[in-house]
Amino acid sequence: MKKILIIESDPILRGIYRRKFDLSGFVVEAVDDGPLALDTIPIFKPNLIQMDLSLPSMSGTELIRRIRALNNFKIVPIVVLSSVYRPDAIKEAFDAGANKCVSKMDCTPNLALEIVEQIFSGEILGLYPSPLGNSPVPTSMPPPPPKPAPAPEPAPAAPPPPPPSSPSPLSTPPAPTSLPRLVIPPSPPKFGASAPATAAPATSHDAPEKMLPSAPLIKMPKPAATGQGIPAPTPTPMLSATRVSSAPKIAMPSGAAPARRETVRAPAQEAAPAAEERTERAAPDFGSDATSAFRLEIRQEFLKRVPQIQADLRERVGALVRSKSTTEQLSLLQGFNTSISSLVGLAGITGFSRIAHLAGALEALIKDLQKRPKQLTSSVLRTIAHASDCLNVLFRDINQGTQEIPQSLLILAVDDEPISRRTISVALAKANLRCICIEESKMAMTILGENQFDLVFLDAEMPEMNGFELCAELRKTATNKATPVIFVTSLTNFEVRAQSSLAGANDLIAKPFLMMELAVKALTYLLRPKSIIDIKSSPGGN
């Protein structure tokens, strides 16, 4: 019987994965950190390791390197769970020897199981996620084994494993008693007719499960939309496989046929067949009742923990805002990172996609700040506090609002300065968001009059029409009177803040900004329920 080692710091996530693999006939061990994993591996001799990249006392990448340095574990398949907002960490994990990377924001227990089964069947061993999603391709990452042998045995002397359908007590030794059993699995999910399948939360929560198997995998770049004269943004992982792949079309003022929202939405239709294909490939067959019961149970576990998570978020953000020294801030960021990383995994595995994605972006921002603590400016702190507030709104509406990630979002950035346009574009691409970048404010005004945008970024100082005037004017349009507007400016004094509010803007980010800060800020507005966004219908409406 195949043995799986789970390395995950969050006890609930460990329990969920453990139960899923247990019930599927695997022998499972679970540990909460890297050093313990390194002690466990030579004794337990796993056939596969599933691990989170965010671990408390040792980075996931470092742990992979050390595992690869162990005798007999140079080729044991390693599946890592990571955030799509941290492509650098994903690349490092592959470089260190990971075999598969899965977005923890979209990873359901079914998907985790499917990946494990695919690896054991040799289907995807040694191949890395395809840049475009559906067809795995070898990459320049560490070369796959010469022959993708099914389930390489780390211990050469171990007998060949029997087929999973005929487990033998002799071939399934209990986990070594010397190993600490950190996870006490709760009672197994109730299979059968009595399972309260109909009591499952809203059907929109099912979406991630339907995106099997390729959607939640970490995707690499697609050619992104370009603004006027702006180079294509840096390739980034996909937020979701169903996001549009072609540039949004907008109505331009040059006399071209105006393109309304229907035109902008068109690419989503092109994506439909792929989504259907993914649904067809949803493999694990536990019966719908069992799957629903399991899903319901893990969601209930998550919901029970929500008040604690909310209190924890409030406390951590408050402490960060109050902290004075860099040392203190770094320590707080480390704690915040561990906490938010758990939230990403929990929300992802329970299908609360909006929470998972916003928390995932916030986790990436916190990681950036750990790397560059002096970038923890008041603007960044405001963005963190704002994102935390948005998470609380999403928690509050957890059983009411949609959890689906919005598709085909249209974002406009107006800035006369080319480096700003480029960095805004790259920052948004980190969240797989694309923007139209316009240099001239008057042209931007024409476009804003003819197209509805989901979010607008404005510079303050521009020739012809400054950002405040442009903002006030766009509030008069039918198309964008309620569109969130964020100023991105190096002018951050009180006068500018007041002017931006009076013009009807929703927020302000100080230049220079961290890329992930801008991405988090954008997601905060885009993932928040529309009814919550402060409507600015006229100048002075603030």
């Binding site: 650098d88 840096t234 970038q375 480096i419 960095t423 190096s490 002018l491 220079p512 961290l514």
Partner: protein
């Protein structure tokens, strides 16, 4: 803000470029970093030309606008040595008083060369910073 940014810069002993900010602007992507550096110096050449003309013809609004534009780019790319003289030019342009603007402009020009030398060295040997 000091009225003599060159003295402040020389006295502070700070390097002309904040390479951590430059790396952050480049998203730790060497290709993007090079692209931004090129965009910066292309823009700096254009803006400095415009600033020279604006100061010569005593156009305060134009001085304010152009200095502000390059301040934003300098902050974004970590070209910190450029910020003080440009901020001062921006401030004087906003107040409509361009007295001493020529000196500030000359400081900005000389600092741009310092910045360029530092960035060139960094691009040749990124590990040096």
């Amino acid at each position: 803000m000091t009225s003599n940014p060159d003295q402040a810069q020389a006295g502070s002993g700070e390097p002309p470029v904040d390479f951590e900010q430059l790396r952050a602007a480049g998203n730790d992507d060497p290709e993007l970093l090079r692209e931004l550096v090129k965009l910066y110096f292309d823009q700096a050449r254009e803006v400095m030309g415009g600033l020279t003309a604006a100061v010569q013809k005593r156009s305060a609004p134009e001085t304010d606008y152009l200095a502000h534009k390059l301040v934003g780019a300098s902050l974004a790319c970590g070209m910190t040595a450029m910020v003080a003289p440009l901020r001062e030019l921006e401030s004087r342009g906003r107040k409509g008083d361009l007295a001493g603007a020529e000196d500030l402009l000359a400081q900005a020009v000389s600092r741009l060369e310092l910045v360029r030398a530092a960035v060139d060295e960094f691009l040749r040997n990124p590990a040096s910073q």
